[in-house]
C-alpha cells in the first residue's frame, strides 16, 4: 500500500525499474573513469530498461498519484526503451571511433554517457507521469540534458546551436508551464485543491465539467510551448542546428524519441479538450501547423548542403505529417498517426546511425563530398539507401503504409486538404531521392577505400542497429500482427 500513499511505485512494479535503472546508471556513469567500460555499462543499462519495459506489456501496474501506464503511453515507453537500447549500441561503436581522432576528452566522454542515461530517464519520466507538473519538469530536464550534449564538441557552431536550442526551448517550455497552470485552474473548482487536479487519470474522468474557455486558453499556450519542442513550423528554428552539431547518436534520439515525447504531451492535452466536448476543436490548429511544417521542410530539403541538416528537416516534415494526422482525428487518421510515429522513430534513428558512420568514414558532413557509398561500403551504402527510400515513403516499407493511410483518410473526409498534403509529400520525396542519388551512386572518391579498413569491428557493431531497425520497418510494411493492429485501434479511439 506504500505506493498508494507516496505516489511512488513499489519494488514489484516494472515502472520503478524503468525509471530507477537509467537514473542509477546516470549517477554511476558520472563517476566511472574508463570510457570503454562506460560505453558498455550504457548498453547494459539500456538493455535492462528495455527488458523492464517489455514486462509492462504483460503487467499493467495500477495508476498512482504520480505515475500511470495506459494503452497510449505503454507503446511509447517500449519504443523509447528500444530505440534507447539500439542507439546505445551504435553509440558504443561511434564513440570508439570518435575517440581515435581525439575529438573528445575522457571527461567529456564520461559526461556524455551520464547525460545519455539521464536523458533516457527524463523521457521515460515524461511518458509515464500521471501529473501534469511532473511531466513538465521531465520535459524541461530533457531539454537541459540535450543542450549539454549538443554542445559537447565545443566548436563555435556547436555552442551556437546549443544556445539557440536552449533559448527557444526554454521559452517554449515556459509557455507550456503557463498552459499547465491554466489547466490546473480549470480543474481546481471542480476537483478541489491538490494533486488530483493535476492527475491525468482523475482529470479525464471529470473533464466534461471543466470550464471550456479556460481550457481553450490553456491549449493555445500548451500548443505553442510543447509545439516548439515538437519542432512545428514556425517554431522549428532550433531543430536543424541542434541535430546537425551534436554527436550523431544524440541526433538519432533527439529525432526519434524526444520529438515524440513532446508530441505525446501535446496529445494528452488534446485528449482533455476532446473529453470536455465544449471547447474549440484543437484539430484545425494542429492541421494548420502540421501542413505549414510539411511545406516549409519540403522546400528547405532542396537547399541543404549538410547531410545531418537534410535529415533534420526531414524530421520536421514527418512531425508535421503526424501532427496533421492527429489534427484530422477520427479512428483511421489517429491510427495512421500512431503508426507513423513508430515508423518515423525507427527509420529516422536508423538514418542517423548510417549518417554517423558515413560522416566518420568520409570525414565530412557535406553532401557534395559524399559519393558512391554503395560502391565503397556496400553494407552501409545499401542500408542507407533502404532507410532513405523508406523515409521518403516508398512501398513496401512501413512508412509508406502510414503515409498512405493519412492521405487516404484525408481524401475521404476533406479532399481539399488532401491535395496540398500530397504536393508536400511529393516535393519532399523528390528532394530526398535526388540527394540520395548523389550520395549513394557514382564513382566513390579514391581516399575512402583506404579509410574503410580502420575500425572494421566497430563498423559491424554500428551497422547492426541500422539493419535491425530497417528489418522492423520492412516487416511492418509487409505484415502488421493482428494484436498490434487491434491495440492501435484501441488507442486511436482513445485519442478521439
Amino acid at each position: 500500500m506504500i505506493d498508494r500513499l507516496t505516489g511512488l511505485p513499489g519494488l514489484e512494479n516494472p515502472l520503478l525499474w524503468i525509471l530507477a535503472v537509467p537514473l542509477g546508471a546516470a549517477g554511476f556513469l558520472a563517476v566511472l573513469r574508463d570510457w570503454r567500460v562506460a560505453s558498455w555499462v550504457n548498453v547494459a543499462a539500456s538493455a535492462l530498461t528495455f527488458i523492464a519495459s517489455l514486462v509492462l506489456l504483460r503487467v499493467r501496474p495500477a495508476p498512482t498519484k504520480l505515475f500511470f501506464i495506459d494503452d497510449f503511453n505503454v507503446y511509447l515507453v517500449v519504443l523509447t526503451a528500444f530505440v534507447g537500447l539500439t542507439t546505445s549500441v551504435f553509440s558504443a561503436a561511434y564513440i570508439a571511433r570518435e575517440s581515435e581522432g581525439n575529438r573528445l576528452s575522457d571527461l567529456h566522454l564520461r559526461f556524455y554517457h551520464a547525460m545519455y542515461q539521464a536523458f533516457l530517464f527524463t523521457m521515460l519520466l515524461a511518458l509515464s507521469a500521471n501529473n501534469t507538473g511532473v511531466m513538465w519538469v521531465a520535459v524541461e530536464a530533457a531539454t537541459l540534458t540535450t543542450v549539454l550534449m549538443v554542445s559537447l564538441y565545443r566548436t563555435r557552431e556547436a555552442i551556437e546551436a546549443a544556445w539557440k536550442y536552449f533559448i527557444l526551448c526554454s521559452v517554449g517550455i515556459g509557455l507550456a508551464l503557463f498552459g499547465t497552470i491554466l489547466v490546473y485552474l480549470a480543474a481546481q473548482p471542480v476537483m478541489g485543491d491538490g494533486a488530483d487536479s493535476m492527475a491525468w487519470t482523475e482529470m479525464m474522468r471529470r473533464a466534461a465539467e471543466f470550464q471550456p474557455d479556460l481550457l481553450n486558453l490553456a491549449f493555445v499556450f500548451v500548443l505553442v510551448g510543447y509545439g516548439t519542442k515538437v519542432g512545428l513550423a514556425p517554431l522549428h528554428a532550433w531543430l536543424p542546428d541542434a541535430h546537425a552539431e551534436g554527436p550523431t547518436p544524440i541526433s538519432a534520439v533527439l529525432s526519434g524519441l524526444l520529438l515524440n515525447v513532446a508530441l505525446y504531451a501535446l496529445l494528452r492535452f488534446k485528449m482533455l479538450l476532446s473529453a470536455n466536448g465544449q471547447t474549440l476543436s484543437p484539430g484545425p490548429l494542429l492541421v494548420v501547423m502540421g501542413l505549414s511544417s510539411l511545406f516549409l521542410s519540403a522546400f528547405m530539403l532542396y537547399r541543404r548542403g549538410d547531410i545531418k541538416r537534410l535529415f533534420a528537416y526531414s524530421s520536421i516534415e514527418h512531425m508535421g505529417l503526424i501532427t496533421f494526422a492527429f489534427g484530422m482525428g477520427g479512428p483511421l487518421a489517429n491510427f495512421a498517426g500512431l503508426l507513423h510515429m513508430t515508423m518515423h522513430s525507427l527509420t529516422k534513428s536508423a538514418i542517423f546511425f548510417a549518417v554517423g558512420i558515413i560522416s566518420q568514414n568520409e570525414g565530412t558532413k557535406r553532401i557534395a563530398d559524399i559519393r558512391g557509398l554503395t560502391m565503397s561500403h556496400p553494407v552501409l551504402g545499401w542500408g542507407f539507401v533502404l532507410a532513405v527510400l523508406a523515409i521518403a515513403g516508398l512501398p513496401p516499407m512501413g512508412v509508406f503504409m502510414s503515409e498512405f493511410l493519412v492521405l487516404g483518410s484525408t481524401f475521404s473526409r476533406q479532399p481539399l486538404l488532401a491535395l496540398p498534403l500530397a504536393i508536400a509529400l511529393l516535393l519532399a520525396f523528390g528532394a530526398l531521392i535526388s540527394r540520395l542519388q548523389m550520395m549513394a551512386f557514382g564513382e566513390p572518391p579514391p581516399r575512402s577505400a583506404v579509410q574503410s579498413h580502420a575500425g572494421r569491428a566497430s563498423s559491424i557493431l554500428a551497422l547492426t542497429p541500422l539493419w535491425l531497425h530497417m528489418a522492423l520497418v520492412l516487416m511492418a510494411g509487409l505484415y502488421l500482427p493482428a494484436p498490434l493492429v487491434a491495440w492501435f485501434h484501441t488507442v486511436a479511439r482513445m485519442l478521439g
Binding site: L175, L177, Y184, A195
Partner: protein
C-alpha cells in the same frame, strides 16, 4: 468582507508591483540597471509568494518565497554583476526596437492579458483571477524583452522575468501542489548554472556576448 478584502487588496498591490518592475525592465538603458530592476522584481515576487502562503495557509509557499528572495533577488544579480565585470561585457543595452515602441507594446500586452484572462476565469476565485491576469502580463513582457533586446545578458534577464511571471501564476493558483513550485525553482537553478557555463564558453570563443555576432553562422556551410 473585512479580512478577505485586505488579503485581496494586498495580493493585488504586490502582483501589480511585480508587473510594474516588468515594465520598468523595458526602458532601462544600462545593463546594471536592468539587473537591479530584475532583483527588485524578484523581491516583489518573494513578497507575493509569502503573502499567498499566509493567505492560503499553505506553508510550502514560504519555501518558494525563500527561493525567490535568496536565489533570484540576491545570488543571481550578484552573479550577473560578477560575470559582467569579469568578462568586460559592454555595459549599455542594445535594442532591436526603440524604447518608446517597446513600452507601448508592453502596455498593449497588459491590456491583452486582462481582456483574455478575466472573461475566461469567471468561475475561479477572485483572488486567482486578477493575479493570473497580472502574471500573464509579466510572462508576455518577459517574452517581449527577449525579442527586443540584443545582448545575451538582457535576453537571459528577460527569460528570468518570464519565469517570475510563471511563478506568480503558480503561487496564485489556489492549492497547486508543492511539486511544481519546488521543481520550477530547481529548474531555474539548473538553468542558471547552465547559463553560467554558456557565458564562459561563449566568452572563450567570441569577443562579444552580443547575440547578433554569435549568429554569424546560419543555415548551411555550402
Amino acid at each position: 468582507m473585512g479580512a478577505g478584502q485586505i488579503s485581496y487588496d494586498v495580493a493585488h498591490l504586490i502582483g501589480a508591483t511585480v508587473l510594474m518592475a516588468g515594465l520598468q525592465l523595458l526602458y532601462q538603458r544600462r545593463l546594471f540597471a536592468v539587473i537591479n530592476t530584475f532583483a527588485f522584481q524578484a523581491l516583489a515576487l518573494a513578497a507575493a509568494a509569502g503573502w499567498q502562503a499566509h493567505v492560503q495557509n499553505a506553508p510550502h509557499l514560504y519555501v518558494t518565497a525563500g527561493i525567490a528572495l535568496v536565489f533570484k533577488a540576491m545570488i543571481v544579480p550578484f552573479a550577473l554583476h560578477w560575470l559582467i565585470e569579469k568578462l568586460g561585457i559592454h555595459r549599455s543595452v542594445e535594442t532591436a526596437m526603440s524604447i518608446g515602441w517597446t513600452m507601448m507594446a508592453g502596455v498593449a500586452l497588459v491590456a491583452l492579458s486582462i481582456l483574455l484572462v478575466l472573461p475566461v476565469t469567471a468561475n475561479a476565485a477572485a483572488l486567482t483571477r486578477e493575479s493570473l491576469a497580472l502574471a500573464m502580463s509579466v510572462v508576455l513582457i518577459g517574452l517581449l524583452m527577449m525579442i527586443t533586446r540584443r545582448n545575451a545578458v538582457t535576453q537571459v534577464v528577460g527569460f528570468m522575468a518570464l519565469e517570475n511571471g510563471l511563478i506568480l501564476a503558480a503561487v496564485s493558483a489556489k492549492g497547486m501542489p508543492l511539486v511544481v513550485e519546488i521543481s520550477v525553482a530547481f529548474s531555474v537553478l539548473v538553468a542558471m548554472t547552465l547559463f553560467g557555463i554558456f557565458f564562459f564558453r561563449i566568452r572563450e570563443r567570441f569577443d562579444t556576448l552580443d547575440i547578433n555576432d554569435v549568429e554569424t553562422y546560419r543555415g548551411d556551410r555550402q
